[in-house]
Amino acid sequence: MFNLILLITLSFLSATLTFYVNEDLRQGPVRSSAMLSLAVALFFYFFPHSMDSYLVKNIPIVFIGASFVGMVSARLLANYLLIGIGGILFCLIYMHTSKFFNGYGGALGTSASIALLAVLSIPIVGKHRKLTNGIIQLRKVLFKPGKKNF
C-alpha cells in the first residue's frame, strides 16, 4: 500500500513539475520531460540500493511516463490539478498494463495519452453538467414545492 501511495504521489509531482518547467520556465516539452526524468533515473542508477527493489525499478518508469502527461500544451490544459490527476491516472493504467504489451516501446506514452485524453474530457463533461444544473434550476422555478400545478 505504501508503494502504491508513493508511486501515485510521484506521478502527480512528475506531471505537474514537467508542466511547470515546460510552460512557466519555458524550457519546452522535450527538455522538461527528459531532464527531470534523467535526474530521477541517474539517482537510482547510482544508488540502486537506496530503496526497495520494486520502487527502484518502478519509480523512474512511473516518473518518465507521468512526465509525458505534463508535456501537454497550455492551449489544451492549463490546470495543475487536472494535470496532476492525469499523472495519477497514468500511474493506475501503468500498474495494470497488460502483460502482452510488456517491453513494447511507447507503451508508457500510450498510457499517458489515454490518461490525458480522459482528463481533457472533464471540462467537456463539466459543461454538460452545468447544463443539467440549469435544467434542474428551471424545473425548480416552474414546479416550486407547494405550488399548485393545474
Partner: protein, 188 residues
C-alpha cells in the same frame, strides 16, 4: 472527400483503435477485479468524449517534413544501443537522448529547422526503449522507425500538444512491426 481529409480520418480512427486495444488488453486481464475493469470502461468513455467533442486537432491538415522524421531512426538506434549494448536501461537511455536532443536548437537559434528535431529524436528514443524480447535487432528498430515516421508525417496537426502523442506513435510503429514479424515468421 479530399485526400487530406481521408488521411486525417484514417489516422484518427487508427490511433483510437490502438488505444482501445491497449485498454481492452488491461480490461481482459482484470475482469475479476471489478474496480480496474470499471476504471478501464470509464476511461474508454472519457477518451471517446474527447475524441468526439475535444478541440485536440488543428482545423487545417499539414504534413511533417521528411527531413524532420529522418531523425526518428537516429534517436531509436542510439537509444537501443545505450539500452541494450551499454546496458543503461530504457529510462536512462531515453532521457539521455531526449536531454541531448533538447539542446540541438541552441546550435543555431535563428534556424526554423533545428527546433523541430528534439521531438522527432525523443519519439525515436521511445522505440529504442523496447525490450529485446519484442525488438530483437537493429532491423526491427529501423522498420519500427519507418512506420513511426510515416505516422508522424501524417499527424503534424493532429493531437497537437497532447502529451504522450510521440509515445503513442512509437508504440503504433512497434506494434505494426511486431505484427509484420509475426506474419513473416508464420508464413516463411
Amino acid at each position: 472527400m479530399s485526400w487530406n481529409k481521408t488521411a486525417r480520418n484514417v489516422f484518427i480512427v487508427f490511433l483510437l483503435i490502438i488505444q482501445a486495444i491497449f485498454l481492452f488488453a488491461i480490461f481482459k486481464e482484470n475482469t475479476r477485479s471489478l474496480g480496474i475493469a470499471a476504471l478501464m470502461l470509464i476511461l474508454c468513455i472519457l477518451v471517446l468524449v474527447t475524441y468526439f467533442k475535444g478541440q485536440i486537432h488543428h482545423e487545417d491538415h499539414a504534413y511533417e517534413h521528411i527531413f524532420v522524421v529522418l531523425w526518428i531512426p537516429v534517436g531509436a538506434v542510439t537509444c537501443f544501443y545505450l539500452n541494450h549494448l551499454l546496458k543503461l536501461g530504457p529510462v536512462l537511455s531515453a532521457t539521455i537522448i531526449g536531454s541531448l536532443a533538447s539542446f540541438i536548437p541552441v546550435i543555431k537559434k535563428s534556424s526554423s529547422y533545428l527546433p523541430q528535431l528534439p521531438a522527432a529524436i525523443y519519439c525515436g528514443a521511445f522505440i529504442g526503449m523496447s525490450s529485446t524480447g519484442v525488438a530483437p535487432n537493429f532491423l526491427f528498430i529501423l522498420t519500427a522507425s519507418f512506420f513511426t515516421a510515416v505516422l508522424l508525417i501524417l499527424s503534424k496537426n493532429l493531437f497537437a500538444g497532447v502529451g504522450g502523442k510521440l509515445g503513442t506513435l512509437a508504440f503504433a510503429g512497434v506494434v505494426i512491426t511486431s505484427f509484420l514479424y509475426f506474419l513473416i515468421s508464420s508464413y516463411v
